[in-house]
């Protein structure tokens, strides 16, 4: 079980997973837009997506939980 936290403030641009998806370590989970740059956020470990806490287009800041894995 792990939370994927937002590493820097920006806007959620694309969510690449759905609840129930299995992800492996280093899979791209979300693409964050910051300073007009697309930044992929990677899964910290293997797991299943339990919850997605953000919507596309939402502003997020550092430390916000983006996705919950289990």
């Amino acid at each position: 079980m792990a939370n994927i936290e937002c590493p820097m403030s920006g806007k959620v641009w694309k969510i690449l997973v759905k609840v129930g998806d299995t992800v492996a370590e280093d899979d791209e989970v979300i693409i964050l837009e910051a300073l007009k740059m697309e930044n992929p956020i990677y899964a910290p470990e293997d797991g299943v997506v339990k919850e997605i806490s953000v919507k596309e287009g939402q502003q997020v800041t550092e430390g916000d939980v983006l996705v919950v894995l289990e």
């Binding site: 590493p7 820097m8 403030s9 280093d26 910051a34 300073l35 007009k36 740059m37 930044n39 992929p40 990677y42 910290p44 550092e62 430390g63």
Partner: protein
């Protein structure tokens, strides 16, 4: 027959020489680069059109008469437009990363080393000292500051140095990474930095006030640039004058950019532009960017000798103040070494500090040389 001859002389063909055609080609190349390649189009396109206009025989740049001369005289010779652009940049810039980690101010200073490397390079190539200062400041990667300094010290260098600064800024993602990789090890590039603390609103309001006082007291010659810069930032952070802040960063910025671009372009008639010195400026410009990257990284290494919590030396390269390109490059090179390393916000610190650093360096040049 006489009628035709009269018409011919009233037309302008006679006044063209081969140099004008070369300048047309250069102008059209810039138009192409701006439109097709997206090289700083907001500036390069007006500059290119200015070059085209001034290389058509007309009185558009005649002192005291021509339209573009008036733009140039009141906007740049009087040094009004660059500070207005700084007003806009101040209103656009979030100093949060600097306030959260003020050490990055030193990195913004470190990258100014490139300015002086280039300054001596230009002297060695036979430029006079005022021209060398303007060429050196290209290494700060800051267009308005370059134009500001040129207007004070060497107006004849303004056009070419502005073009060199803006074109190399577009090339930051090409020039910087090789230097950065050369000067850091894989392990150093992988250094992750602790996430930045949250910065309160009051801290952000204090910042521009403190900054303008400190800088103006130490370097009075940077007052025009930094005064407007801090004023713009206060408009932004105060939160009560959104209309002024938005005008400074959008409408006003766009308006002055139009006048700036086209009149800077107009300082480049063929007689001035087509000299071997121009090649020298362009060669020195690339040295300026590369050496600024190198001194920024060097200072980061130096600071790491004393710091308990190591900084990633890549963010030193972001002291080159091309905002936010240099920060993006630092982030990108860092994420190539470790894809879960997010340096972007950390690199914004030195990046915006670099803007201040370059303005201060320009102020120091003016105080010594003027």
């Amino acid at each position: 027959m006489e009628l035709l001859q009269g018409m011919w002389t009233s037309m302008a063909f006679d006044n063209l020489y081969w140099g004008n055609f070369v300048m047309w080609t250069i102008a059209l190349t810039f138009v192409y680069l701006a439109i097709k390649k997206g090289f700083e189009p907001l500036l390069l396109l007006p500059i290119a059109f200015g070059i085209l206009l001034v290389n058509l025989p007309s009185e558009i740049m005649t002192p005291g008469e021509g339209l573009l001369w008036r733009f140039y005289h009141y906007g740049e010779e009087w040094a009004i437009i660059p500070p207005l652009i700084f007003l806009g940049i101040g209103a656009m810039t979030d100093f949060g990363p600097v306030i959260a980690n003020p050490k990055t101010l030193l990195l913004g200073a470190g990258a100014q080393g490139g300015v002086y490397v280039t300054f001596f390079g230009a002297l060695a190539l036979g430029f006079d000292i005022n021209q060398a200062a303007v060429i050196g400041i290209i290494g700060g990667a800051d267009g308005p500051t370059t134009i500001f300094l040129a207007s004070k010290l060497a107006p004849e260098m303004m056009g070419i140095c502005a073009v060199a600064a803006y074109s190399y800024m577009a090339l930051v993602p090409v020039i910087q990474p090789p230097v950065m990789k050369l000067l850091t090890t894989e392990a150093q590039r992988k250094i992750r930095m602790k996430s930045l603390r949250k910065v309160s609103k009051l801290e952000k309001i204090f910042f521009p006030i403190i900054t303008v006082i400190v800088i103006t007291l130490v370097v009075p010659d940077a007052a025009a640039l930094m005064g407007m810069f801090c004023f713009g930032n206060l408009l932004r952070e105060s939160g009560v004058v959104d209309r002024l802040s938005l005008t400074a960063q959008n409408e006003l910025m766009n308006i002055v950019t139009i006048f700036l671009g086209i009149s800077v372009g107009a300082t480049m008639p063929a007689e001035v532009f087509l000299s071997p010195k121009v090649l020298g400026v362009f060669a020195l410009g690339s040295i300026a960017f590369a050496s600024a990257t190198a001194t920024g990284i060097g200072l980061a290494h130096l600071m790491n000798l004393f710091l308990k919590e190591k900084i990633n030396p890549l963010i030193g390269a972001a002291g080159v103040s091309a905002v936010p390109m240099a920060a993006r490059v630092a982030h990108k090179v860092g994420s190539e070494a470790d894809k879960k390393n997010y340096l972007l916000m950390h690199a914004m610190g030195p990046n915006v500090a670099g803007v201040i650093g370059t303005a201060v360096a320009a102020g120091m040049f003016i105080s010594v040389l003027k």
